[in-house]
Structures are given as C-alpha cells and as structure tokens.
Amino acid sequence: MEVLPKIPKSWNLETKPHKFCPGCGHGLILKALGQVIDELGIQDRVVFGCDIGCSLLSWDFFNVDSVQTHHGRTTPVMVGIKRANPELIVVAYMGDGGGYAIGSQHLVNAATRDDKITVLLVNNTNYAMTGGQMAPTTMPGQKTETTPYGRDVLEAGYPMMGPEMVSAISQDGAYVARGSVARFRKLKEYIKKALENQITGRGFSFVEALSTCPTNWRTNAEQTWAFLENEMTKQYPPGELKTPTGKEG
C-alpha cells in the first residue's frame, strides 16, 4: 500500500523542513506539484517561477530550475522563457495578490493569448507575508488588517473569481480548475491535467488552489479547516471550470 503523502523526488531535501507556517497550505500544494513533476518525469525540463509574497519561500523548494521574480511578474517571466524555448515546461507559482491584483494584466493577457504555460495560484484570502491585509480574494465580511471591521464589499469591492474569469477569456484548448488543499487528490489531479495541457501544447492552463493561512486568520486547526471547508468553498466552488476541447498541439 502506498503511504501518502510521500516526499516527492523532485523536492530539494536540503531546504526541508520548509519555512511555511504550521498549518499553511503551501506545503501541500507544492507536494502535489512535486508528485506531479515526478509522475510526468519532467524534472529535467521544468522551470519553476515564484512570485513575491509567501510563494517566494519556494524559490529553492525543488530540485528544478527556479527563478524568483517580482511581485506580479512571474507570469511574464515564464511567458518569456516559454516563448524563447518551448521545450521547457514552465510553472508560474503565485499568490492571489500577485495573480489577481498587481499582476492581473499579465494573467488576463497570457490566458487570452493562450500562452502554453501553467499558472498555479494560491488563494488564502489575504496578503499573508505582509501581515494579513485584504487581498482580491478576501471574503465579504472577513477581517484583515486593512479591513479591521470586515470587508465591506460596497467600500472595498467584491472578491475576485479568478478561475471563472480565466475560463471566460481563455481559448478552447485551455484548462482551468479550482482545487483545495482539503481535497489533496483532486488538487493533484488538476495540477497534473494542467501540466499535461502544457506538455501536449493544447493551451494555457490555470489552477487556483484554495489554501489555509491560520497565522493570519488567527485560527486553530479546527477553525482553519472549518473556514476553508465551510466558508471559502461556498464563495469559491472547487471543480474543473474548463477542460480542453482543442486538438493536441
């Protein structure tokens, strides 16, 4: 019997244990990604790009070539690499701020242009590394350091529905899904399909991963999972939003 979760071969053990907070979802997402890289046998041609924010802690996470970029700019760096050398498999790893706020123009245009890249975006409903400010994904009513009385959507705007947007603007060959760290196997399946979509050249691929941030949510283990399972999935329903209909490229 296979014991899960097992440590992926593509992980860089020299940098483990990793530096994410206890209860943080990043470790699970990166575990899923690592296992997918192993299963697809692409460790020798993956380029992993990470953003600023907690995602930057993954800059030396894998034994794969990795580039830490600027806040919001991982998508264009990965687009640039992929365009210059299409043999490489590129993964742009970022948080909700990097993908939906400061770098949203890059996400929108890479998706619309159908760049053959994979964007893996972590939604934990706040800017965690800067201390828990409101993010594009902060839930209505949710308290953060910049919405101390709860997010008033009339004042502070509504949550960004990323995968819904991306599936609306992307092309037939695109793959778009929203997974959750609470459903590890599903999340891993989505990440695998996303990377396969890139490998076959069918089109853009995008996975949003609902994740946990007990440190900034100020929640204990039970509250953390309750927020993810009961609150977040109501606002952000997990599942596949778009599966490719185009031919393999």
Binding site: P17, K19, M129, G132, E145, R218, N220
Partner: protein
C-alpha cells in the same frame, strides 16, 4: 522594590495598540522573572508587520537566562516581508516547563492570535494584559481605552505604560496612571502595574500614586530593529 506575588507558573500575554510598549513590557517581565531564578520562555507572536522583533535580542536575553522562541535573523528570506511567518515551536509554547511570556502584538483580530497557540483557550492561568500608553492617539482618553480593550475581547488586566520617550516626566506617568485606573474601573479589570523607565522609577517608589505596583523598564527594544 516590592516583588509581585508570582504563582507557581507565570503565563502572561502582552498585547496593546501599535507602539504601546507591549514588547518592551513582555521582555522586561521575562528578565525580571529570570532574575528571580525562574525558568522563563519568551515567545514572539507579534505577527503584524513587526519592525521591532525579538530576534536580535535572543543573545542578550539568553545571557539573562530567558529562552526566546523566535526566528533567527537570516533564517527567513526577505525580512520585513517575511516578518510574520509563524515559527512552528510557537504553536506548542505553553507546553514548555516554567514561566511563559508571550508578546502577541496587535491587529484587527485582537487577541485571537492566541488561537494559534495550543491550549491557550483552555489555560485558566494564562493572563492577557493590555499595555496602555496615553501618549498614543488611539488610547489617549478613558473612552478610547475602554473601546480599545473591549475590541481585544480577552483581557485580564491593564498596564499603564504612559510615557513620552526621553521627554517623559513623572507628571505624565501619573496622568497615565489616573486615566488607566479610570478605564479599568469602567472595564471591571485590575490595573496590574505602572511601568516606568528605570531612570524615573526610583522617584516613584514601589507603588504609584494609586497603589499600583511599579515595574522598572530597561529599554531593550531600540537594539531590536530587525
């Protein structure tokens, strides 16, 4: 100077508004207990954009016999931006033997940060103290303090830490003690202490004008900028 009566195990968490002096009070309390020969763990749970952290003080405090649970400078990538990554041991700090002093910072969710500490909710002996400096605009008057402390939810006592830095005089400390005492009455909470910088503490004595115990503060935090 009168020693405060310490129970068999001191478990105290220090909170307060931005720059209220909560970290300084927590550090001094930890050193005070350690000098009594007690086993003390000081915990950095200040997660909101901390520019003064306990990291650089680990060595000095270690020499005082205080064991500090905080990241080492250099352990994290991009300090400042990664100031608020929770060190895994912090989760289980209440399981450390001896006294535990927590610097729990401030934030929109108040003392809910204690949710990150295993057993904090059930621990009856854990006292949460709100540190008040009436020189801070958000806690300048009785009504402000009452509103602020109520927003924190779980508070067991107030500490008057009113000062104006190098320009502090006794009159200001006394005014702070009076305002904090009045707020405490409204809140139905005790005033645990008045903290006074060490240069002025002797002039005040062991208790302040209203009978609150006086704690001498040595300033550690100016050495603690990241």
């Amino acid at each position: 100077m009168k020693q405060e009566q310490s129970p068999s195990r001191v478990l105290e968490a220090y909170t307060g508004e931005y720059a209220s002096g909560k970290s300084e009070n927590a550090v001094n309390r930890a050193v005070e207990l350690a000098r009594q020969g007690r086993r003390v763990t000081l915990v950095d749970l200040d997660l909101v954009e901390p520019c003064y952290t306990l990291r650089p003080l680990k060595k000095i405090l270690g020499e005082e016999g205080v064991s500090v649970l905080a990241w080492d400078t250099g352990e994290l990538v991009g300090l400042g931006e990664t100031g608020n990554i929770l060190k895994p041991e912090v989760q289980f700090c209440l399981r450390h033997p001896g006294d535990v002093i927590l610097d729990i910072g401030y934030g929109a969710s108040g003392v809910q940060v204690l949710n990150l500490v295993e057993g904090a909710a059930e621990e009856q002996d854990l006292k949460v103290y709100a540190v008040i400096n009436i020189a801070r605009p958000m806690t300048a008057a009785v009504t402000d303090i009452v509103e602020h402390v109520r927003s924190l939810k779980r508070v067991d006592g107030l500490i008057n830490n009113s000062h104006l830095g190098e320009e502090t005089d006794l009159g200001f400390v006394q005014e702070g003690a009076r305002v904090v005492k009045e707020a405490a009455v409204v809140l139905g909470l005790p005033v645990v202490a008045t903290s006074v910088m060490e240069q002025l503490a002797a002039a005040v004595g062991e208790t302040d004008w209203y009978g609150h115990p006086v704690r001498r503060l040595h300033r550690y935090l100016p050495q603690a900028f990241w």
